[in-house]
Symmetry: C2
Subunit: 132 residues, 2 copies
């Protein structure tokens, strides 16, 4: 109920009406992959008064505070992932649908070391799905 407020406070984000609305949709549910538009539609469907710009602002704020992770899998739009632990994805290009793959299911061997002056920040694996 007010755990959302705590999440926000712990991240030095003011618990405003809009951030709480979004927080409820994102963090009460199990893991979700949303886009700015899908979240905006979900908010409007529940009679919430919010602007699209705020949805974008909030998603970006949440990302900066590591409450969300950006997923770039499709050029059309950016996905935001409530699962911030390292993990991988199936992606259905036709349905535009992301499905988590638990990190510890998968073992990756032989990754070369990063070019000098660089380090590997994150390894993401995307298994693209097609019908049949």
């Amino acid at each position: 109920m007010n755990s959302i407020k705590n999440i926000l406070r712990n991240s030095s984000l003011r618990p405003t009406k809009q951030r709480i609305m979004i927080g409820k949709l994102l963090f009460n549910d199990t893991n979700k992959h949303v886009t700015a538009e899908s979240l905006y539609r979900e908010l409007k469907a529940s009679e919430q008064k919010i602007s699209l710009a705020t949805v974008y602002n909030t998603l970006h704020d949440f990302c900066e505070k590591k409450l969300l992770k950006k997923v770039n899998v499709d050029a059309e739009k950016v996905y935001f992932d409530t699962n911030t632990n390292p993990h991988h994805h199936f992606y259905s290009d036709s349905e535009k649908l992301l499905i988590d793959i638990s990190k510890d299911k998968i073992k990756i061997h032989g990754l070369p070391k990063a070019p000098k002056g660089k380090k590997i920040k994150d390894v993401e694996l995307i298994a693209h799905l097609s019908d049949s």
Copy 2:
């Protein structure tokens, strides 16, 4: 010299001036990762007369004919990869730079089977780089 023409003919693409210009830039060189804009700039830098729409058209045509592969790694823009063999990438988000990782360097174990009705078309791994 006319191997580009052959590549185009073999793909049932008319060897027009514009496609040959682009083919030379893409297929004579070693593996390249370009965006529509970067390729357009490269063409204009060499005094070539071509429109941006044609660059987009040609990149898409080349993709359909499997002469190029699309890489979605950054929400900003789409990359086109002259390396059409399955392989993986380093990506430097700060420099917007893709680096190939040979497929056979890397072994991936434990990939779950695709959801029913779906199959895995392609597995791509992206190792995001940061400074230091």
